[in-house]
């Protein structure tokens, strides 16, 4: 009878110390107190926690005496009878007492700490306490996670999108717009080129490769924002012209010149820049070489003036046959060489380019500006009588004939009936209630009409023949004698019958072919009226309605200075480049203004994609002027 108590304590190095005592008693006390038979030194244990008594051989009772129960197999009890054969375990605080039958009927109790003491839990935790490793994930783990997130989101997902994407489809609305021919002569310089409104991106939503975009697209291309493949069609290949021309057909947006000549005329990048371009596969002369995208709303259309002079400053060195003079900058822009009618023709007029100084144009028309712009002669008198608009001084204004076109750029073609007919009336008789008129531009018809009219006139008393009211020939000619029809025709064409001019020869050169047939006897020299003297440039007349405080007629005359004194239609009244420099590129006149009085950039007057002007011998794609021949 009695108890054999084995108390196991752990050493710092982890090995155990076992102390065994034998108590020859039927009952022992268990607790924290030093007077207990089995002392358990932990504050969770009561001073006198329990009593264990042998009730019969092989059986013990345990009773909690300190007011705190003991734990038996997971349940807390204050009293229990236990059979040693079951090898029961009693938990008191952090200790476990394992009971078993010992030798000689004794009860063997093994007491062992199963919950480590508090300070032991903190031992070895110094690193965790004094470094942040105890409070945060390690830097290495955070670094891996951050790098993985970046690589997956910014590289892998976009890459998978690119690889999985079919050929890019282009929005129909954009295609249609790009295929419209560009309005000739548009440029930013004069503010006439309007930014399109940005279209929203197509409905396919966010594309993972959008994160590779280096900046917002221009308004024109905004709807391609989630369609990178529309332009970036091949990896590691810079955007090609074919990507641009998928929408911008060459017909609608012609190149500046033939590609071969462009390549020859360009100053090739040399040195480091050239080497870098070759090394990084950036061919020059592509659309994208000038038109930089991903730079915001307008920048795809913006190129600098130096861009033109890069080539044109010394173009003839690389293109000796170029008809274009070198232009290093605006101050050294050569004087204009006007495109003039050299040989008028109804079918194929011939134009020539000539320096303005001393230039003569051969339109085939007889038209003295001075006569028509006088404030005091018969023309002015007649204009007033006809109720035509006149200027304050009584003279015919420029706009009487030169009517601005719809775009405010140049002027509507001059038409004889519209602009000359009020005075140069082709009516010749009142036939009953009908006004008989000669058809303009059809000399054979005119001869026939006059001949037939006179041939039949003797039998007709109700026909009133007008005395000719032609300016300058007012009532001078007596009515032709009846029956002399041919003479009447001669008079209409040449006026020779009365020693003066005829109706036609007022304005036209009439030649006598000597033909026996009266309808073919007189030929009118063809007339070609120039309507664009400087077709390589643009001059929006509508934006130049005032000059130095002058408006209207005075503004016109401040540039077209010879218009009131010119006595022949061969005079060329187009002003030279010096005239433009009065404003364009002129220095500021006020202290507050920061910019020149008017822009001096090339694109103020010139466009780039207007088609290719070619040297003589090449097929010209430029139509310098529509012809107004024969009027």
């Amino acid at each position: 009878m009695g108890f054999v108590i084995r108390q196991i304590a752990s050493r710092a190095d982890g090995s155990d110390i076992v102390r065994t005592r034998t108590l020859a008693r039927a009952e022992i006390s268990v607790g924290r107190g030093t007077d207990c038979d089995l002392q358990l030194a932990d504050l969770a244990v009561m001073l006198r926690h329990a009593r264990i008594a042998i009730t019969s051989p092989g059986r013990v009772s345990v009773e909690a005496v300190g007011g705190v129960p003991v734990e038996l197999g997971g349940t807390f009890v204050t009293r229990a009878d236990l059979a040693l054969a079951d090898t029961p375990a009693i938990d008191i605080g952090p200790f476990r007492l394992s009971l078993a039958a010992g030798a000689d009927g004794a009860v063997a109790i093994t007491a062992e700490r199963v919950v480590p003491p508090i300070d032991a839990a903190q031992a070895g935790a110094e690193a965790g306490i004094f470094s942040l490793a105890g409070a945060l994930p390690t830097k290495r783990r955070m670094a891996w996670i951050g790098a993985a997130v970046v690589l997956i989101g910014m590289l892998l997902l976009p890459l998978l999108h690119v690889l999985g994407e079919d050929r890019a489809s282009l929005p129909q609305a954009m295609l249609a717009e790009a295929r419209r021919p560009a309005t000739p002569g548009q440029a930013f310089g004069d503010g006439r080129l309007q930014l399109p409104k940005p279209r929203p991106a197509t409905e396919s939503g966010f594309a993972p490769d959008e994160v590779w975009s280096s900046g917002p697209l221009s308004n024109a291309h905004a709807s391609l924002a989630n369609n990178c493949g529309a332009c970036h069609s091949q990896a590691f290949v810079s955007v090609t012209d074919s990507a641009c021309q998928a929408c911008h057909m060459p017909d609608a947006l012609p190149d500046h010149a033939l590609p071969a000549r462009m390549a020859k005329g360009r100053v090739a990048a040399g040195g480091i820049a050239g080497a870098a371009h070759r090394a990084f596969n950036l061919p020059e002369g592509r659309c994208a070489s000038c038109h930089k995208e991903h730079e915001g709303e307008a920048t795809v259309l913006t190129v600098a003036a130096s861009f033109c002079t890069d080539c044109h400053a010394s173009l003839n060195r690389r293109l000796p046959d170029t008809p274009a003079a070198n232009v290093p900058d605006w101050a050294q822009h050569p004087d204009f060489r006007a495109t003039l009618v050299a040989t008028p023709s109804l079918q194929q007029p011939v134009f020539t380019r000539a320096a303005l100084n001393g230039a003569k144009e051969h339109s085939g028309l007889i038209y003295p500006h001075a006569l028509h712009q006088s404030a005091s002669n018969a023309v002015a008198n007649m204009a007033q009588k006809q109720g035509l608009p006149t200027g304050a001084d009584g003279a015919l204004p420029c706009r009487a004939c030169h009517v601005p076109d719809a775009a405010g750029q140049r002027f509507q073609p001059i038409a004889m009936e519209t602009h000359c007919g009020a005075c140069h009336d082709l009516a010749f008789a009142r036939d009953g209630g009908t006004l008989r008129t000669l058809p303009h531009g059809k000399p054979e018809q005119v001869a026939g009409i006059i001949r037939d009219f006179w041939a039949s006139r003797t039998a007709r008393a109700d026909v009133q023949i007008f005395p000719r009211r032609t300016p300058g020939l007012f009532s001078a000619a007596p009515a032709p004698v009846a029956g002399r029809a041919d003479a009447a025709v001669v008079q209409v064409f040449t006026g020779r019958a009365v020693g003066g001019k005829g109706i036609c020869s007022d304005c036209h050169v009439v030649t006598n072919t000597g033909s026996a047939s009266i309808t073919h006897r007189f030929a009118i020299a063809p007339v070609t009226l120039n309507n664009h003297y400087l077709p390589q440039g643009r001059f929006p007349h509508g934006q130049h309605k005032s000059f130095n405080g002058k408006t209207g007629e005075a503004a016109c005359l401040s540039c077209h200075q010879g218009a009131r004194t010119s006595k022949a239609a061969t005079d060329v009244l187009v002003p030279g480049v010096a005239n433009c420099r009065q404003c364009h590129g002129a220095p500021v006149t006020s202290l507050l203004a920061a910019a020149p009085r008017a822009s001096d950039s090339c694109d103020s007057c010139h466009a780039y994609h207007d088609g290719a002007p070619l040297p003589a011998g090449h097929r010209s794609t430029v139509q310098p002027a529509a012809t107004e021949a024969g009027r």
Partner: protein, 301 residues
């Protein structure tokens, strides 16, 4: 200077003269008379001047010749700067001292603010390119923060620590815990429970916020101390002064003082370390973003 120092050629044998060295400590910021500060400043000024004097079309960005130049320079610098993490693990590597390397790291890193920003031409957006810029700025600014901490905290750290080491601080608390534990053995359950509260419910370090703020509110020790002090007072008034409990109060007070010192130490150490928890992972993320940035530019060339 030349006249004072003996010509070196004449030296023979070993350790004839001590290597010339300033008496005052020269930190990594003004290493070698601030050599790297001057290099960095000159580089920054040069970059700003070139940027201001060039006028690319349509405007400055990463795609101009200057943009590519600055981008290449920046990328090489970033890779080199991040190699400090490798260099510092190789003790005694030549030819440059770790201090010189650190000095260059700090000063050249600062010039990256200008180089990286001018490389982008100031253009930012929601894309991988701006992400790289943002991560770079986070790395650099956290570096500034680190420099500030390295200049201000060590002095406070050493003042707080006095003459004892980190492990001595912990050992002091553990010793007090053991003393408390044994001193409480004779106590009745209610009093013993208070001591257990101090022993079991008093974490030294705690969460990141607790570490940084040093604010552990009323931890087990504080609550135990308050309750024990109250009981000691009550029993004294009742004329039953309890020496054992008074001893416990004394030990709890000492533990509170030891805890406070350790926690100040922990707060300073946490600050000293925390910037690196931003700086290092952001650097690695930046290297990843740099790879994505450069690859994507050439993929969509």
């Amino acid at each position: 200077m030349a006249s004072q120092a003996p010509p070196r050629k004449t030296m023979t044998g070993k350790a004839v003269a001590r290597a010339p060295r300033d008496v005052a400590h020269e930190g990594f910021l003004n290493h070698k008379q601030a050599r790297w500060a001057k290099v960095s400043g000159a580089l920054t000024l040069l970059v700003i001047a070139v940027y201001a004097l060039t006028d690319p079309i349509p405007r400055h960005n990463g795609g101009t010749w200057l943009g590519y130049t600055l981008g290449t320079l920046g990328a090489v610098m970033i890779v080199w700067l991040s190699l400090l993490g490798v260099r510092k693990r190789v003790v005694g590597a030549k030819p440059f001292s770790l201090k010189g390397w650190t000095s260059a790291h700090v000063w050249l890193g600062m010039s990256l603010i200008v180089i990286g920003t001018l490389h982008a031409g100031g253009q930012l957006g929601w894309n991988v390119h701006s992400l790289a810029w943002l991560l770079m700025m986070i790395v650099i600014l956290s570096g500034f923060w680190g420099i500030h901490l390295y200049r201000s905290l060590p002095e406070r750290l050493s003042t707080n620590r006095g003459e004892i080491t980190q492990s001595q601080m912990l050992e002091a608390i553990r010793t007090l815990d053991r003393q408390l534990d044994s001193a409480a053995q004779p106590l009745a359950a209610a009093d013993a429970a208070l001591v257990r509260m101090s022993l079991a419910e008093t974490p030294i370090a705690g969460t990141l916020r607790q570490r940084l703020g040093g604010d552990h509110g009323s931890d087990g020790n504080a609550r135990a101390l308050a309750a024990v002090a109250e009981r000691v007072q009550a029993r004294r008034h009742a004329g039953q002064a309890d020496d054992r409990l008074q001893q416990i109060q004394f030990l709890l007070e000492r533990k509170a003082a030891a805890l406070a010192q350790a926690r100040r130490h922990i707060a300073l150490k946490a600050q000293l370390e925390l910037w690196l928890y931003v700086h290092v992972p952001a650097t690695v993320a930046l290297l990843a973003a740099l790879v994505a940035h450069i690859l994507s530019v050439f993929l969509y060339w």
